[in-house]
Symmetry: C2
Subunit: 378 residues, 2 copies
């Protein structure tokens, strides 16, 4: 079952010893697939906010320029010297990136599971997706329905699984509604549609009228603009009305988590409850799952003791829910690929475009919920 | 089974409408015990840090003075106007205080359980203990062994149960060691002795040489002074050595929780582990169980996403572990009343002494681990 792929390419991201970020496009010798493996020609790989950490975050992008590094075409940018300590662990290491994507199975190992996928378009997760070809275990691939283009399968893992994960967490931890910040993001729109479908109370926090409209159009009742003067009283009202005691925060730094917990506390008082020196005796939780603000997280001193703040990540969540529930969630993502889990792409670029300094400066599309889509096989 | 108690007294703590804290001693008409109840003549009631919230926290104690309020002897102090909003819920309400204590059963209802306690010295929890007599369900009383004085049973709930609760939480959440701040407190000494007995790695954080000596004498290996210049590197070393990933913090405000999480992250790197943009993939947790510092809690932005910070309280913890485990913990507390769970008292005062302005200014004994003991029957 050999393949004759000779012109495969891959992208590497490297923080060099002398303080530069290098994105290089280099030849890739595609291994022969083992019995249980398939070779996927990648056709649609999104640039998610969660990819940017590995791809770009150490770099000062205003210094981005084209260079040839070790004979390979590359984008080079300076790294903030203050950040070098944080990235000490990856210094000098050529890392592949790209969490998820979709493409066509062009070669397969001898096992039945692998052979069954030959010629099929599949959606996959597993890192190292910014390359023309990716070798994956057959059991990690979920085929799209016949005729569905790869683009529809590009973004079916990270955000669809996270949105479903938020709701798993809400149910597992006994909450009755969700507060979400940066709520008009690609993920936020998916979460909003899921909540509307399942009648889950959602308080969506955005930062502009345009973002507010996106969510109102989806059918969310409580959409609040945190840039407005009456944000806090409106937040308290929305929380009192919905009873939401669980927040998911993409911002991380600053006071947003604290505002949410404070408003939950005031909402609890409004809903009527006993007095306690430790605050309202209902556990109030905010999970930070992103770091739009990488500064300090500042929590007010008057929150009582019935609260928690912490990180939330998809991988440990999926380990917790187990393989069976995870497969259910993936099948649902594929089913709803053009509905709840539809993604908008602002542009479609090639692997070579990824190292174009001008294009790379535009990767960060979080505010609008649109993403850049890479077709490595262009 | 009537009683003829006529001179009973009780202490009330009240935040008045006009912004004063009033501690008053007033007559108490002891109810006849129902079948399942007993009347305890209280002989030993500690003033715990956790009692001070209800008892004093709204008050500016430098304004404390003796007055007669509604014909009752009282201590009166001004309340910081900025705090009045927080205490809105208790304004105008006469509240009884005192979490736990011990005394002699002087009257009992007709049930066998109640009758069996007549004449016994019992340890109890349930609030409203700063009074000469407390009516309690028999099933809530744990008798001390024959001949043991009430003083030995005064403080067998709040701190002994909390110390055991910390270890329950450590085990339930899969951690292998504990970091504790304000570690020389009454609670801290109990936790230290428990950890030494059970070979649980403990990193104890204190703020003076005298506090350090208290814990070293108990047998704790890792005692760190947070006022010293080399605190952070020492903390990282101690965490790397012990593998402790769970902190209990009595301070709450400021950066201590953040320092602990940061040091855990650096310790994880030292112990060797994979690189991740989200930090070391082991959940690191700090529970805040006290508020020695009522200011903002400030968490550094570089903690990754495998962490949590939140409130920890004994009552919801005990609900979680269930009645059977709770009774085990209480029996163990009684058994170890002169060992692991021994409390030192700086002074013994009467109910009337509690409203003496000079004495009341000295309630706060947290740093030394000593407490004031009230004998309401003096």
């Amino acid at each position: 079952m050999g393949h004759d792929i000779t012109d495969a390419k891959q992208l590497f991201t490297t923080v060099t010893e002398d303080g530069k970020l290098v994105l290089s496009i280099e030849p890739y010798a595609v291994p022969e697939p083992e019995d249980h493996q398939v070779v996927i020609q990648m056709e649609a790989v999104p640039i998610n906010p969660s990819d940017l950490g590995l791809l770009l975050s150490p770099a000062q992008m205003d210094t981005a320029r084209s260079e040839t590094v070790d004979g390979h075409p590359a984008l080079v940018a300076d790294v903030d010297p203050a950040m070098m300590r944080i990235f000490a662990g990856r210094k000098g290491k050529k890392l592949a990136a790209g969490n998820e994507g979709a493409g066509k199975v062009v070669a397969a190992g001898t096992s039945d599971a692998a052979q069954a996928l030959l010629g099929k378009t599949v959606t996959v997760v597993g890192g190292e997706m910014y390359r023309t070809h990716r070798v994956m275990p057959a059991m990690m691939c979920v085929p799209l329905p016949e005729g569905a283009p790869a683009k529809e399968g590009a973004s079916l893992f990270v955000n669809p699984m996270t949105a479903q994960g938020f709701i798993n967490t809400m149910r597992a931890e006994g909450h009755e509604g969700i507060v979400h910040t940066a709520a008009a993001s690609n993920l936020g729109q998916m979460l909003a549609k899921l909540c509307v479908k399942d009648n889950i109370p959602l308080v969506a926090i955005v930062r502009s009228d345009a973002q507010k409209k996106i969510l109102t159009d989806v059918g969310v009742t409580h959409v609040l603009d945190s840039t407005k003067d009456d944000f806090m009283p409106n937040l308290v009202d929305a929380l009192a009305e919905t009873g939401a005691t669980l927040g998911f925060d993409a911002i991380g730094g600053g006071k947003m988590a604290s505002y949410i917990l404070t408003a939950m506390e005031q909402a609890a008082a409004k809903r009527g409850g006993e007095f306690s020196v430790y605050g309202s005796p209902i556990h109030k939780q905010v999970y930070i799952y992103g770091r739009l603000d990488t500064g300090e997280t500042i929590l007010g001193g008057g929150l009582g003791l019935y609260w928690g703040v912490g990180g939330w990540l998809l991988t440990p969540h999926l380990e917790k829910v187990g393989m069976e529930r995870m497969m259910e969630m993936r099948m649902f993502a594929v089913e709803e690929r053009n509905g709840i889990f539809h993604s908008e792409y602002s542009s479609q670029i090639s692997l070579m475009d990824m190292i174009d300094p001008e294009i790379a400066k535009g990767y960060d599309k979080k505010a609008t919920g649109e993403k850049v889509l890479v077709n490595p096989s262009l």
